[in-house]
């Protein structure tokens, strides 16, 4: 490996850049998925009751709603509760509400979903059931947000894998070509090996190892650069955004994903050397 330091460094560098691009998309997708999860955890459905719904119907309706599949908790919010909530939210500006009667605010149910139901598909199912109940006038939930965000994450994941596939082909091509150069530079030695009857595996294994090491180092460098970029992100963002980010943590890749990326690099390196050895290490 040392004998062809320059070509090896080039290969490692190219693997590192390719893996860095792939890892960056993985990191973005990971964080957006994480953000989506946090957001979904907080998601709740608000069902507004029709004005004039008799209070005697509230309790049976609560029971009925609680029995719906996917519903975890249901809380009744009376017009007075709603007014109190608005006053709290407005704080020092609550005088804006002067003259407004609580009766203008519709009573509502705040519905918390079970964990498995906190996604756009499942919520839609529950909302469909709620819409069948005639006492509800309107049902609100962060539908658009959930759907847009889900689509965004989906596109990102798709891009990640398409890009990953293209990079995979490029890396295999580059690694195999660099290894062909290495093999060519040892042509005489390999020819002698063939002449004296060295087993094919004995000749090939060092090249496979070289590919594995190149892949591992390339993957490792990619992770290192990504980590530095991730850390650097926090150094250059304004303090106001840092406070915002405190609520939505920007995480680094979990160890398991890092291990997969390293393994991926090694597999690519190995595959590149395998292709090269198939091309130029035929027993002659």
């Amino acid at each position: 490996m040392m004998g062809n330091l320059f070509s090896n460094l080039i290969t490692i560098g190219i693997i590192a850049i390719s893996m860095l691009i792939f890892s960056t998309f993985t990191l973005l997708a990971f964080n957006l998925t994480n953000f989506l999860k946090i957001w979904e955890d907080k998601i709740e459905v608000i069902a507004y009751l029709k004005r004039g719904t008799p209070s005697s119907e509230v309790e049976p309706l609560l029971k009925k709603t609680r029995l719906l599949e996917g519903v975890e908790t249901v809380r009744y919010v009376s017009p007075y509760d709603a007014m109190g909530f608005m006053e709290t939210k407005l704080g020092g500006q609550k005088n804006l509400l002067e003259g407004i009667q609580p009766a203008v605010l519709p009573p509502s149910f705040e519905i918390q979903m079970k964990k498995d139901y906190r996604n756009s598909t499942k919520i839609k199912e529950v909302v469909a059931h709620l819409k069948e109940i005639p006492q509800f006038e309107e049902i609100q939930y962060g539908q658009e947000w959930v759907e847009t965000f889900s689509v965004l994450v989906h596109i990102l994941r798709l891009t990640q894998w398409i890009l990953g596939g293209l990079l995979l082909i490029a890396v295999v091509f580059i690694t195999s070509n660099t290894l062909q150069l290495t093999i060519s530079s040892r042509r005489e030695e390999i020819e002698v090996m063939h002449w004296v009857g060295t087993s094919p595996s004995f000749i090939r294994i060092p090249f496979y190892l070289e590919g594995l090491i190149q892949g591992f180092l390339g993957g490792g460098l990619a992770i290192l650069f990504l980590f530095l970029l991730h850390q650097g992100l926090f150094l250059y963002i304004p303090p106001s955004m840092q406070a915002w980010l405190a609520k939505i943590p920007v995480l680094f890749l979990p160890l398991e994903t890092i291990a997969w990326i390293l393994l991926g690099g090694m597999v690519l390196g190995f595959f590149g050397s395998f292709v090269a050895s198939m091309r130029v290490l035929k027993y002659k």
């Binding site: 005489e188 002698v192 090996m193 002449w195 004296v196 009857g197 060295t198 094919p200 027993y283």
Partner: protein
């Protein structure tokens, strides 16, 4: 009767460019025999040897070496066959960045021998070819004749029963040629089967071994030395 070391039956070799290198070659070489393959440049000598060590496959025909049918499509273990033969060529094929001893020991190390054992055995073989004084020297410091002797030592170090030599004296002057031939004669006397391809008829006149003559890929004749001398 001894089973033949090498058998070729109706062997043809035609390259994709339709050049016929070998045409209907049938021959037998017995264990312990020294056989010259003689013919002018382009007569098919090298192709014949390359087929014997599986560097090429014949277009048709059957080849048996050490009782192994090497032309059968399922024959894959070329490396195992090569361990039973030594190969020497005109261009030596030595590793220029290694010493004399390292070049010979290399053949042992890559077939599983430990380094010390390989070096010691390499020294023993180098003594046999008269290079004990040059063991530590770089290959580049040797004359062509000495380099050929290193190549022969490397071919012999695994004690193969069969030695295939393709124009081993092609690059040597008369004095060096005689030195190298002395080694081959000695090996033959010790029981090694030798197939020696050459275009120099002078050699076959000097040594009384069987000569298989090739001309344009065909076997012209097979003579004992007396017959060759008679035909000139």
């Amino acid at each position: 009767m001894n089973e033949a070391m090498i058998e070729m039956h109706h062997v043809f070799k035609t390259y994709p460019s339709q050049i016929s290198a070998l045409s209907d070659i049938t021959l037998e070489i017995l264990p312990g025999e020294f056989a010259f393959i003689v013919g002018p440049s382009g007569s098919g000598k090298s192709t014949l040897l390359r087929i014997l060590f599986c560097a090429e496959r014949p277009t048709s025909g059957e080849v048996v070496v050490h009782g192994i049918h090497i032309t059968q499509p399922d024959f894959k273990k070329i490396y195992q066959l090569r361990r039973t033969m030594g190969i020497v060529s005109q261009d030596f094929k030595l590793l220029r960045d290694r010493t004399v001893n390292e070049n010979v020991a290399f053949a042992l190390e890559i077939t599983g021998h430990i380094r010390e054992e390989a070096k010691s055995k390499a020294s023993e073989i180098l003594r046999r070819v008269g290079l004990e004084e040059r063991e530590g020297d770089s290959i580049l410091a040797l004359s062509a004749g000495e380099q050929q002797r290193v190549a022969i030592a490397r071919a012999l170090v695994n004690s193969p029963p069969l030695l295939l030599a393709d124009e081993p004296t092609g690059n040597l002057d008369a004095r060096m040629t005689l030195d190298v031939m002395e080694i081959f004669t000695d090996l033959h006397q010790k029981g090694t089967t030798i197939v020696f391809a050459t275009q120099f008829t002078g050699l076959i006149k000097r040594y009384s071994y069987r000569a298989i003559r090739l001309l344009d890929g065909r076997k012209a004749d097979s003579h004992k030395v007396e017959e060759v001398k008679a035909t000139g």
